[in-house]
């Protein structure tokens, strides 16, 4: 008999999810961080060439226009920050087209928060406190903080900030990933993604939170560059048991630099013939008006629930993953 009407997670997981949501709201209420809601349907959308989005048709006769399902609430939340909201958090759905697998569902839940006046180390302290609270029952070992360069070098012997095609090829050849050579060519960013996800990430955070900071500038995304070393970005990623759990930035506040990065990504999209994205000019306007110094992070709550419950697949923690939606 077809049982696709039933939830794919257990009822116990529904209760665990509710408990986690309560704990998070309590954590931020105690710290006077304001809970906010921003639209899932937006006029603008992220330009990141690695993120594919959903486009919807908004019909209000005679008007018809495209609205996008947000890939993250980041832009709208930064507009609130620029408007003087102070520190804020949100628990919401985010949508990424074409992402489906053991750790991916095209619709997933994010916890995203911003701390006005915090630099990255201060935000990392708070992340540590929140996760310690959520994992109180399962007893994580002590948190590890390590730079991208150090962790990459430790696991591969390669310097991620100094790309040498010959050395990277030799590494791939000697470490049973020769297919990396053809796949990555001379593209440094691709090499870093390939080697990091295959040979570094699986070792990160064995029964502990591992925070990797100081990403190479070529992977800065929406982070500002380090003021003393422009080769690295003020970006942090979280890992537990080799699973990527979240991504945070000491946020870029420079409107001109942000606009430049958007335009760069849009031209990459054109070169690769990817769907055209509409850059969020309201974010640029908000940055021009003045985004306060802040740090922010997004954490995937479904993956967090996987880790809390020891589940092997994201479908084990979702009531209705996309194939049952």
């Amino acid at each position: 008999m077809d049982d696709a009407w039933q939830p794919s997670c257990s009822l116990k997981l529904l209760r665990l999810r509710a408990q986690v949501l309560r704990d998070i709201r309590c954590f931020f209420a105690e710290r006077a961080v304001l809970e906010v809601e921003t639209p899932l349907l937006c006029h603008g959308i992220g330009t990141d060439p690695q993120l594919d989005f959903f486009t919807t048709a908004y019909c209000l006769q005679p008007l018809q226009q495209a609205l996008f399902l947000q890939t993250s609430p980041e832009f709208a939340m930064k507009r609130l920050l620029a408007a003087g909201s102070g520190s804020i958090y949100q628990i919401c759905k985010a949508f990424r087209n074409g992402e489906s697998g053991r750790f991916h569902n095209p619709e997933f839940t994010l916890l995203e928060w911003y701390r006005v006046g915090y630099d990255l180390p201060q935000l990392m302290d708070e992340i540590d406190e929140l996760l310690a609270l959520l994992f109180a029952g399962s007893g994580l070992d002590s948190t590890q903080r390590i730079s991208y360069q150090a962790v990459f070098q430790h696991h591969t012997g390669l310097d991620p900030l100094l790309f040498s095609y010959q050395e990277y090829c030799a590494y791939a050849f000697n470490n049973h990933i020769p297919d990396a050579i053809g796949l990555c060519g001379h593209d440094q960013v691709l090499w870093l993604d390939f080697i990091f996800s295959h040979n570094v990430q699986p070792h990160l955070g064995a029964n502990a939170l591992c925070m990797v900071y100081g990403y190479p500038a070529c992977q800065s995304s929406l982070a500002r560059l380090n003021e003393h070393n422009p080769k690295v970005a003020e970006r942090v990623e979280l890992f537990i048991n080799g699973i990527e759990l979240g991504n945070g930035f000491y946020e870029l506040t420079d409107a001109i630099e942000q606009d430049r990065r958007f335009n760069g990504e849009i031209s990459i999209r054109q070169q690769r013939q990817l769907p055209l994205s509409i850059k969020d000019n309201r974010l640029i306007a908000a940055l021009s008006a003045g985004l306060p110094d802040c740090s922010g992070i997004a954490i995937g709550l479904d993956r967090l629930l996987m880790l809390l419950s020891g589940s092997a697949a994201i479908n084990d923690v979702l009531a209705f993953p996309v194939d049952r939606a």
């Binding site: 489906s100 697998g101 796949l183 993604d193 990091f196 992977q219 991504n247 995937g300």
Partner: protein, 189 residues
């Protein structure tokens, strides 16, 4: 032949890789939040039987391989080739020892087996999971011994050697699991 994208790589799908027909075993979607999406694929080369791991950029594609499993009747061995026939169409195929491999140890004339065809030529042969074969050679056992322990080697009519309980005698028909090569039971004729 059809083209399959990484999203369609499901266990069992047959594709061409490095000019050899292969079967997908496992496909894992790997994507850093801010980076390139990959598919790490475990794949079996159907010619050599070797399992390898390959990484693709998500969205890349491979050509499908014209590989099908067909149930056939094993006819005979002419010394160089084994001959098989499809029951419905009487179509005949021949395969040499390299292709038949260990399956040859379980093939008895007239029995059914599965022949994997690649572009309509045999690529591999798999025997039925359970076969019934008679014992052509084994030491006389102790009568009355019904214990499970111990056992003795017995040579079967197809050439395979399996361990059987001591009470099983030469000339008897037995049932064997070809996946493990283990004796299951005696068969009453």
């Amino acid at each position: 032949m059809a083209i399959f994208s990484t999203n369609e790589f499901k266990a069992g799908l047959k594709v061409m890789l490095d000019n050899d027909p292969c079967a997908i075993i496992e496909n894992e979607f790997v994507k850093p939040g801010k980076g390139q999406a990959f598919n790490r694929v475990k794949i079996r080369n159907l010619k050599t039987g070797r399992v390898i791991e390959r990484t693709f950029k998500s969205g890349e594609s491979l050509e499908g391989a014209d590989v099908v499993d067909v149930e056939m009747q094993y006819l005979y061995n002419d010394g160089e080739f084994r001959h098989f026939m499809v029951q419905d169409t009487f179509e005949q195929y021949q395969a040499d020892q390299k292709i038949v491999g260990d399956a040859g140890l379980w093939l008895k004339d007239q029995d059914f087996c599965t022949v994997t065809l690649w572009n309509d030529a045999p690529l591999a042969v798999s025997p039925a999971n359970f076969v019934e074969l008679s014992i052509v050679e084994t030491d006389p056992g102790v009568r009355g011994d019904t214990s499970g322990g111990g056992g003795k080697p017995a040579k079967l009519e197809t050439g395979a050697v399996v361990r059987v309980p001591l009470f099983v005698q030469q000339g008897e028909l037995i049932k064997v699991d070809t996946r493990t090569g283990e004796y299951i039971s005696r068969v009453k004729e």
